[in-house]
Symmetry: C2
Subunit: 190 residues, 2 copies
Protein backbone atom coordinates (compact mmCIF):
# COMPACT_ATOMS: atom_id res chain seq x y z
CA UNK A 1 0.00 0.00 0.00
CA UNK A 2 1.22 3.53 -0.73
CA UNK A 3 1.70 5.50 2.47
CA UNK A 4 1.54 9.24 3.10
CA UNK A 5 3.32 10.91 6.03
CA UNK A 6 0.93 12.46 8.55
CA UNK A 7 1.67 14.86 11.38
CA UNK A 8 2.20 12.86 14.62
CA UNK A 9 -1.14 12.59 16.40
CA UNK A 10 -3.45 10.39 18.42
CA UNK A 11 -4.69 7.76 16.00
CA UNK A 12 -5.03 4.49 17.95
CA UNK A 13 -8.58 3.18 17.46
CA UNK A 14 -11.17 1.71 18.03
CA UNK A 15 -11.34 2.56 21.73
CA UNK A 16 -13.88 2.22 24.49
CA UNK A 17 -15.74 5.43 25.39
CA UNK A 18 -16.20 4.98 29.13
CA UNK A 19 -18.12 7.10 31.60
CA UNK A 20 -15.90 7.97 34.57
CA UNK A 21 -17.74 8.73 37.79
CA UNK A 22 -16.15 10.63 40.65
CA UNK A 23 -17.03 12.53 43.82
CA UNK A 24 -17.49 11.58 47.43
CA UNK A 25 -20.90 13.10 48.21
CA UNK A 26 -24.11 13.17 46.12
CA UNK A 27 -23.60 16.90 45.63
CA UNK A 28 -20.12 16.37 44.19
CA UNK A 29 -20.89 13.34 41.98
CA UNK A 30 -19.85 13.84 38.38
CA UNK A 31 -19.61 11.92 35.10
CA UNK A 32 -16.91 12.45 32.45
CA UNK A 33 -16.60 10.56 29.19
CA UNK A 34 -13.09 9.36 28.45
CA UNK A 35 -11.52 7.49 25.53
CA UNK A 36 -7.91 7.83 26.70
CA UNK A 37 -8.25 4.77 28.94
CA UNK A 38 -7.09 1.17 28.95
CA UNK A 39 -5.44 -1.69 30.79
CA UNK A 40 -1.75 -1.33 31.64
CA UNK A 41 -1.12 -4.47 33.72
CA UNK A 42 -2.87 -7.82 34.18
CA UNK A 43 -1.47 -8.89 37.57
CA UNK A 44 -2.06 -6.83 39.62
CA UNK A 45 -4.92 -5.45 37.51
CA UNK A 46 -4.10 -1.84 36.67
CA UNK A 47 -5.57 0.72 34.32
CA UNK A 48 -5.37 4.41 33.52
CA UNK A 49 -7.39 7.38 32.44
CA UNK A 50 -5.87 10.55 30.99
CA UNK A 51 -7.67 13.85 31.60
CA UNK A 52 -7.06 17.47 30.68
CA UNK A 53 -6.25 19.56 33.74
CA UNK A 54 -9.20 21.87 32.95
CA UNK A 55 -11.83 19.15 33.34
CA UNK A 56 -14.03 19.20 36.41
CA UNK A 57 -13.39 15.49 36.98
CA UNK A 58 -9.64 16.21 37.08
CA UNK A 59 -10.16 18.49 40.10
CA UNK A 60 -12.35 15.94 41.85
CA UNK A 61 -9.98 13.00 41.36
CA UNK A 62 -6.94 15.05 42.42
CA UNK A 63 -8.79 15.53 45.72
CA UNK A 64 -10.35 12.07 46.21
CA UNK A 65 -7.74 9.90 44.40
CA UNK A 66 -10.44 7.45 43.27
CA UNK A 67 -13.02 6.97 40.51
CA UNK A 68 -15.17 4.38 38.72
CA UNK A 69 -14.90 3.36 35.05
CA UNK A 70 -18.40 2.54 33.79
CA UNK A 71 -18.45 0.61 30.49
CA UNK A 72 -20.92 1.87 27.93
CA UNK A 73 -23.39 0.30 25.55
CA UNK A 74 -25.34 1.29 22.46
CA UNK A 75 -28.26 2.21 24.74
CA UNK A 76 -25.96 4.65 26.56
CA UNK A 77 -24.53 6.23 23.36
CA UNK A 78 -26.36 9.55 23.75
CA UNK A 79 -25.54 9.90 27.46
CA UNK A 80 -21.93 8.94 26.74
CA UNK A 81 -21.59 11.65 24.12
CA UNK A 82 -23.41 14.28 26.18
CA UNK A 83 -21.23 13.68 29.26
CA UNK A 84 -18.19 14.20 27.01
CA UNK A 85 -19.24 17.60 25.69
CA UNK A 86 -20.89 19.16 28.78
CA UNK A 87 -19.18 20.05 32.06
CA UNK A 88 -20.16 18.99 35.55
CA UNK A 89 -19.48 22.58 36.59
CA UNK A 90 -22.69 23.50 34.73
CA UNK A 91 -24.90 20.43 35.05
CA UNK A 92 -25.89 17.62 37.40
CA UNK A 93 -25.14 14.99 34.78
CA UNK A 94 -26.86 12.12 36.58
CA UNK A 95 -30.08 14.11 36.66
CA UNK A 96 -29.81 15.52 33.14
CA UNK A 97 -29.18 12.06 31.61
CA UNK A 98 -31.58 10.28 34.01
CA UNK A 99 -28.81 7.98 35.19
CA UNK A 100 -28.89 6.38 38.63
CA UNK A 101 -25.98 6.60 41.10
CA UNK A 102 -25.44 3.32 42.94
CA UNK A 103 -23.09 2.75 45.90
CA UNK A 104 -19.72 1.19 45.10
CA UNK A 105 -18.04 -1.55 47.16
CA UNK A 106 -14.78 0.16 48.02
CA UNK A 107 -14.64 3.73 46.72
CA UNK A 108 -16.91 6.65 47.57
CA UNK A 109 -17.50 7.53 43.91
CA UNK A 110 -20.84 6.16 42.64
CA UNK A 111 -21.47 3.47 40.03
CA UNK A 112 -23.80 4.21 37.12
CA UNK A 113 -26.56 1.65 37.63
CA UNK A 114 -27.43 1.61 33.90
CA UNK A 115 -23.88 0.54 32.95
CA UNK A 116 -23.39 -3.26 32.90
CA UNK A 117 -19.86 -3.17 34.33
CA UNK A 118 -18.36 -0.77 36.84
CA UNK A 119 -14.64 -0.86 37.62
CA UNK A 120 -13.60 0.80 40.89
CA UNK A 121 -10.16 2.39 40.72
CA UNK A 122 -7.73 3.96 43.15
CA UNK A 123 -5.03 6.32 41.89
CA UNK A 124 -1.43 5.25 42.48
CA UNK A 125 0.38 7.96 40.55
CA UNK A 126 -0.46 11.06 38.53
CA UNK A 127 1.88 11.66 35.58
CA UNK A 128 1.87 15.13 34.01
CA UNK A 129 2.45 14.58 30.30
CA UNK A 130 1.38 17.85 28.63
CA UNK A 131 -2.24 18.52 27.66
CA UNK A 132 -3.27 15.52 29.77
CA UNK A 133 -2.43 14.06 33.16
CA UNK A 134 -2.36 10.27 33.28
CA UNK A 135 -3.93 8.70 36.38
CA UNK A 136 -2.19 5.36 36.86
CA UNK A 137 -4.55 3.28 38.97
CA UNK A 138 -5.19 -0.08 40.55
CA UNK A 139 -8.49 -1.89 40.06
CA UNK A 140 -9.88 -2.40 43.57
CA UNK A 141 -13.34 -3.85 42.83
CA UNK A 142 -15.62 -4.81 39.95
CA UNK A 143 -19.41 -4.78 39.77
CA UNK A 144 -21.07 -6.84 37.03
CA UNK A 145 -24.68 -6.83 35.91
CA UNK A 146 -26.17 -10.06 37.20
CA UNK A 147 -28.25 -10.88 34.13
CA UNK A 148 -25.09 -10.92 31.96
CA UNK A 149 -23.36 -13.63 33.98
CA UNK A 150 -23.48 -17.02 32.29
CA UNK A 151 -25.08 -19.40 34.78
CA UNK A 152 -23.03 -22.36 33.52
CA UNK A 153 -19.53 -20.91 33.31
CA UNK A 154 -19.81 -17.89 35.62
CA UNK A 155 -18.30 -15.76 32.85
CA UNK A 156 -19.39 -12.18 32.39
CA UNK A 157 -20.84 -11.76 28.91
CA UNK A 158 -20.25 -8.08 28.26
CA UNK A 159 -20.47 -8.66 24.52
CA UNK A 160 -24.16 -9.54 24.98
CA UNK A 161 -24.78 -5.99 26.26
CA UNK A 162 -24.10 -4.31 22.86
CA UNK A 163 -20.81 -2.57 23.78
CA UNK A 164 -20.08 0.89 22.42
CA UNK A 165 -16.86 1.57 20.49
CA UNK A 166 -15.36 4.94 19.56
CA UNK A 167 -13.26 5.27 16.42
CA UNK A 168 -11.89 8.46 14.84
CA UNK A 169 -14.70 10.71 16.08
CA UNK A 170 -17.63 8.31 15.63
CA UNK A 171 -19.52 5.94 17.91
CA UNK A 172 -20.25 2.40 16.71
CA UNK A 173 -21.81 -0.78 17.92
CA UNK A 174 -19.83 -3.98 17.44
CA UNK A 175 -20.45 -5.86 14.21
CA UNK A 176 -19.74 -9.35 13.02
CA UNK A 177 -17.85 -11.69 15.35
CA UNK A 178 -14.71 -12.78 13.48
CA UNK A 179 -13.32 -15.33 15.94
CA UNK A 180 -12.18 -15.90 19.50
CA UNK A 181 -8.64 -15.39 20.84
CA UNK A 182 -6.52 -18.20 19.40
CA UNK A 183 -8.90 -19.05 16.55
CA UNK A 184 -6.07 -18.89 14.01
CA UNK A 185 -4.33 -21.92 15.53
CA UNK A 186 -7.35 -23.98 16.58
CA UNK A 187 -7.94 -27.26 14.79
CA UNK A 188 -11.30 -27.39 13.05
CA UNK A 189 -13.83 -29.66 14.75
CA UNK A 190 -15.06 -32.60 12.68
Amino acid sequence: MAKIAFKPGTMIYPLPAVMVTSGDTPESYNIATVAWTGTICTEPPMCYISLRKQRHTHDIIMRTREYVINLTTEALARATDWCGVRSGRDYDKFREMQLTPQPAQVVKAPLIAESPLNIECRVIEVKELGSHDMFISEVVAINAEESLIDKGTGAFQFNHAAPLAYSHGKYYGLGEKLGGFGFSVKKKKH
Copy 2:
Protein backbone atom coordinates in the same frame (compact mmCIF):
# COMPACT_ATOMS: atom_id res chain seq x y z
CA MET B 1 -29.67 -3.20 37.55
CA ALA B 2 -28.60 -5.78 40.13
CA LYS B 3 -24.84 -5.96 40.45
CA ILE B 4 -22.60 -8.85 41.51
CA ALA B 5 -19.11 -8.33 42.96
CA PHE B 6 -16.34 -9.73 40.73
CA LYS B 7 -12.69 -10.30 41.52
CA PRO B 8 -10.67 -7.25 40.40
CA GLY B 9 -9.47 -7.86 36.85
CA THR B 10 -8.86 -6.37 33.43
CA MET B 11 -12.28 -5.66 31.99
CA ILE B 12 -12.03 -2.46 29.96
CA TYR B 13 -13.34 -3.17 26.44
CA PRO B 14 -13.69 -2.92 23.43
CA LEU B 15 -10.03 -2.32 22.61
CA PRO B 16 -7.93 -2.16 19.49
CA ALA B 17 -5.83 -5.27 18.78
CA VAL B 18 -2.76 -3.73 17.21
CA MET B 19 0.25 -5.39 15.63
CA VAL B 20 3.45 -4.00 17.15
CA THR B 21 6.52 -4.25 14.92
CA SER B 22 10.04 -4.02 16.28
CA GLY B 23 13.63 -4.79 15.38
CA ASP B 24 16.40 -2.88 13.66
CA THR B 25 17.49 -5.35 10.98
CA PRO B 26 15.41 -7.62 8.70
CA GLU B 27 16.71 -10.63 10.68
CA SER B 28 15.44 -9.15 13.96
CA TYR B 29 12.06 -7.86 12.72
CA ASN B 30 9.15 -9.14 14.80
CA ILE B 31 5.39 -8.68 15.16
CA ALA B 32 3.49 -8.88 18.48
CA THR B 33 -0.23 -8.43 18.90
CA VAL B 34 -1.15 -6.14 21.79
CA ALA B 35 -4.47 -5.00 23.26
CA TRP B 36 -2.98 -3.23 26.28
CA THR B 37 -2.40 -0.06 24.27
CA GLY B 38 -3.90 3.41 23.96
CA THR B 39 -3.41 7.14 23.88
CA ILE B 40 -2.21 8.81 27.07
CA CYS B 41 -1.72 12.44 25.93
CA THR B 42 -2.96 14.53 23.01
CA GLU B 43 -0.30 17.29 22.95
CA PRO B 44 2.38 16.12 22.66
CA PRO B 45 0.91 12.92 21.17
CA MET B 46 1.85 10.04 23.45
CA CYS B 47 0.78 6.43 23.72
CA TYR B 48 1.75 3.23 25.48
CA ILE B 49 1.97 -0.50 25.07
CA SER B 50 2.21 -2.94 27.98
CA LEU B 51 4.08 -6.20 27.44
CA ARG B 52 4.94 -9.21 29.58
CA LYS B 53 8.67 -9.41 30.27
CA GLN B 54 8.78 -12.89 28.70
CA ARG B 55 7.69 -11.72 25.26
CA HIS B 56 10.27 -11.62 22.49
CA THR B 57 9.16 -8.10 21.53
CA HIS B 58 9.87 -6.97 25.12
CA ASP B 59 13.53 -7.93 24.69
CA ILE B 60 13.78 -6.20 21.33
CA ILE B 61 12.21 -2.92 22.47
CA MET B 62 14.31 -2.84 25.65
CA ARG B 63 17.30 -2.83 23.31
CA THR B 64 16.07 -0.53 20.51
CA ARG B 65 13.68 1.73 22.50
CA GLU B 66 11.38 2.09 19.50
CA TYR B 67 8.51 0.30 17.75
CA VAL B 68 5.58 0.78 15.36
CA ILE B 69 1.88 0.37 16.19
CA ASN B 70 0.12 -1.00 13.11
CA LEU B 71 -3.68 -0.67 13.23
CA THR B 72 -5.59 -3.76 12.17
CA THR B 73 -8.61 -4.49 10.02
CA GLU B 74 -11.06 -7.32 9.47
CA ALA B 75 -8.85 -8.52 6.61
CA LEU B 76 -5.96 -8.80 9.09
CA ALA B 77 -7.98 -10.64 11.79
CA ARG B 78 -6.28 -14.00 11.29
CA ALA B 79 -2.75 -12.54 11.16
CA THR B 80 -3.55 -10.40 14.22
CA ASP B 81 -4.64 -13.42 16.22
CA TRP B 82 -1.76 -15.61 15.02
CA CYS B 83 0.88 -13.01 15.92
CA GLY B 84 -0.67 -12.90 19.42
CA VAL B 85 -0.38 -16.62 20.10
CA ARG B 86 2.93 -17.47 18.40
CA SER B 87 6.38 -16.23 19.39
CA GLY B 88 8.92 -14.50 17.19
CA ARG B 89 11.52 -16.74 18.85
CA ASP B 90 10.04 -19.61 16.83
CA TYR B 91 8.77 -18.00 13.62
CA ASP B 92 9.52 -15.28 11.08
CA LYS B 93 6.07 -13.77 11.46
CA PHE B 94 6.25 -11.54 8.39
CA ARG B 95 6.95 -14.58 6.24
CA GLU B 96 4.49 -16.90 7.94
CA MET B 97 1.61 -14.39 7.64
CA GLN B 98 2.75 -13.12 4.20
CA LEU B 99 2.99 -9.58 5.49
CA THR B 100 5.33 -7.04 3.93
CA PRO B 101 7.85 -4.99 5.93
CA GLN B 102 8.07 -1.40 4.70
CA PRO B 103 10.63 1.22 5.81
CA ALA B 104 9.47 3.70 8.44
CA GLN B 105 10.21 7.44 8.35
CA VAL B 106 12.00 7.83 11.69
CA VAL B 107 12.45 4.52 13.47
CA LYS B 108 14.35 1.44 12.31
CA ALA B 109 11.43 -0.90 13.06
CA PRO B 110 9.43 -1.75 9.94
CA LEU B 111 5.86 -0.82 9.08
CA ILE B 112 3.41 -3.54 8.04
CA ALA B 113 2.50 -2.51 4.49
CA GLU B 114 -0.89 -4.25 4.70
CA SER B 115 -1.95 -2.14 7.72
CA PRO B 116 -3.66 1.13 6.75
CA LEU B 117 -2.08 3.18 9.55
CA ASN B 118 1.35 2.84 11.12
CA ILE B 119 2.29 4.86 14.19
CA GLU B 120 6.03 5.20 14.84
CA CYS B 121 6.85 5.39 18.56
CA ARG B 122 9.92 6.10 20.64
CA VAL B 123 10.07 4.91 24.26
CA ILE B 124 10.40 7.64 26.91
CA GLU B 125 10.05 5.51 30.05
CA VAL B 126 9.57 1.87 30.99
CA LYS B 127 7.40 1.34 34.08
CA GLU B 128 7.57 -2.06 35.77
CA LEU B 129 4.07 -2.73 37.08
CA GLY B 130 3.96 -6.48 37.78
CA SER B 131 3.12 -9.01 35.06
CA HIS B 132 3.57 -6.25 32.48
CA ASP B 133 5.99 -3.43 31.77
CA MET B 134 4.40 -0.27 30.40
CA PHE B 135 6.32 1.44 27.59
CA ILE B 136 5.40 5.12 27.79
CA SER B 137 6.15 6.52 24.35
CA GLU B 138 5.99 9.56 22.11
CA VAL B 139 4.48 9.37 18.63
CA VAL B 140 7.27 10.46 16.27
CA ALA B 141 5.69 9.81 12.85
CA ILE B 142 2.52 8.50 11.22
CA ASN B 143 2.06 6.72 7.91
CA ALA B 144 -1.41 6.62 6.40
CA GLU B 145 -2.69 4.57 3.49
CA GLU B 146 -3.11 7.01 0.62
CA SER B 147 -6.39 5.62 -0.71
CA LEU B 148 -8.10 6.26 2.66
CA ILE B 149 -7.37 9.99 2.67
CA ASP B 150 -10.41 12.07 1.75
CA LYS B 151 -9.39 14.21 -1.23
CA GLY B 152 -11.67 17.05 -0.16
CA THR B 153 -10.93 17.39 3.56
CA GLY B 154 -7.54 15.66 3.79
CA ALA B 155 -8.92 13.58 6.68
CA PHE B 156 -7.80 10.00 7.16
CA GLN B 157 -10.84 7.73 6.95
CA PHE B 158 -9.71 4.75 9.00
CA ASN B 159 -13.31 3.74 9.60
CA HIS B 160 -13.60 2.97 5.85
CA ALA B 161 -10.92 0.27 6.27
CA ALA B 162 -13.14 -2.05 8.40
CA PRO B 163 -11.27 -1.64 11.74
CA LEU B 164 -10.86 -4.62 14.03
CA ALA B 165 -12.01 -4.46 17.67
CA TYR B 166 -11.22 -6.86 20.49
CA SER B 167 -13.69 -7.35 23.32
CA HIS B 168 -13.58 -9.91 26.13
CA GLY B 169 -11.68 -12.54 24.14
CA LYS B 170 -13.38 -12.08 20.77
CA TYR B 171 -12.57 -10.16 17.60
CA TYR B 172 -15.29 -8.05 15.95
CA GLY B 173 -15.75 -5.70 13.07
CA LEU B 174 -17.47 -2.41 13.77
CA GLY B 175 -21.24 -2.35 13.38
CA GLU B 176 -23.80 0.37 13.03
CA LYS B 177 -22.64 3.99 13.24
CA LEU B 178 -24.53 5.59 16.10
CA GLY B 179 -23.38 9.20 15.76
CA GLY B 180 -20.38 11.48 15.62
CA PHE B 181 -18.68 13.15 18.60
CA GLY B 182 -21.06 15.87 19.82
CA PHE B 183 -24.16 14.42 18.16
CA SER B 184 -26.13 14.62 21.42
CA VAL B 185 -26.00 18.43 21.43
CA LYS B 186 -26.22 19.13 17.70
CA LYS B 187 -29.29 20.90 16.40
CA LYS B 188 -31.14 18.90 13.81
CA LYS B 189 -30.80 20.24 10.26
CA HIS B 190 -34.06 21.33 8.61
